[in-house]
Symmetry: C2
DNA sequence: ATAATGTTTCCAGTTACTGGAAGGTCAAGG
DNA sequence: CCTTGACCTTCCAGTAACTGGAAACATTAT
């Protein structure tokens, strides 16, 4: 099948498939007489694997390693697990950071009139001024 | 003062200050005879505002708008609040997405032996196979 | 034959900067 | 006066992971 069909079946755009080939994430596809890339079911399976891994937020570098393990019949599941655990740790750091920001902003928003008047604790905080009667939020 | 001192006082790198000038986030600084950018306390205050806004995850585009409101004595606090609320909404979407991924991965990790054996529910899931005795996790 | 669709490669743009190169400026020391 | 070193200047590249678009070729349908 051509790249368009492989794209539709795998859920990865044709552009992205070419990109993955260009960076070496997938093998260069064999070409037809006219120069079109040609894919089989196995290729679609790999592409689907990639889509799902990317959908879980794994970096392309992680996916490279996961694909390597997927192909390796002698892999140790410990190696897969380690990649996933490191990824989860990164996600947890990110969530903690976002939650901290969310709490700060939510607090500032609650104290902002949100009307036509100009005074605003959000701007006060950004400007570095202490919100009156309130500990500095950072 | 020169850019280095403004950078140290504001907590923004000299590189970033030049970048902010290049994209129009801040006004071009006046130059000394030798061509050095020259900053005053007001400039440092603006830079500090930018650093704090960026630290709360506001995009540079948001910061442009926040700075505009900060400068505008006739602003409506409602406009500031709206920007902050939209940002919080985006953060909440992101957190929800990350939490969903975290739950999926944590579940898969718990069911992975993590030893020298090759079978691994994480790879099974990525490959699209149902984890034995377990509903498909996505 | 021609039109429509699919595919090819290549370049640019996205976000928000950072790193580095090549070269000018400035203050202090010899 | 000259040099050294710290600081500054501009400009180009690179980052992550693609997407959009242009120009041209291939294939299929009418």
């Amino acid at each position: 099948m051509n790249i368009g069909e492989a794209a539709a079946l795998s859920g990865i755009s044709a552009k992205a498939i070419r990109y993955y080939e260009s960076i070496g994430l997938i093998e260069p596809a064999p070409r037809s007489d006219g120069g079109y890339r040609s894919y089989g079911d196995t290729d679609v399976a790999f592409l689907t694997f990639i889509r799902r891994a990317r959908g879980l937020g794994f970096s392309v570098e992680d996916v490279t390693n996961l694909l390597g393990l997927y192909r390796d019949r002698n892999r140790a599941s410990a190696d897969v697990k380690a990649i996933a655990q490191a990824h989860v740790a990164g996600i947890e750091r990110k969530v903690a950071e976002l939650e901290s920001i969310r709490r700060t902003l939510t607090h500032l928003i609650e104290n902002c009139h949100g009307d036509e008047r100009p005074d605003c604790p959000i701007l006060d905080d950004l400007a570095g001024a202490a919100t009156p009667g309130d500990a500095r939020l950072v």
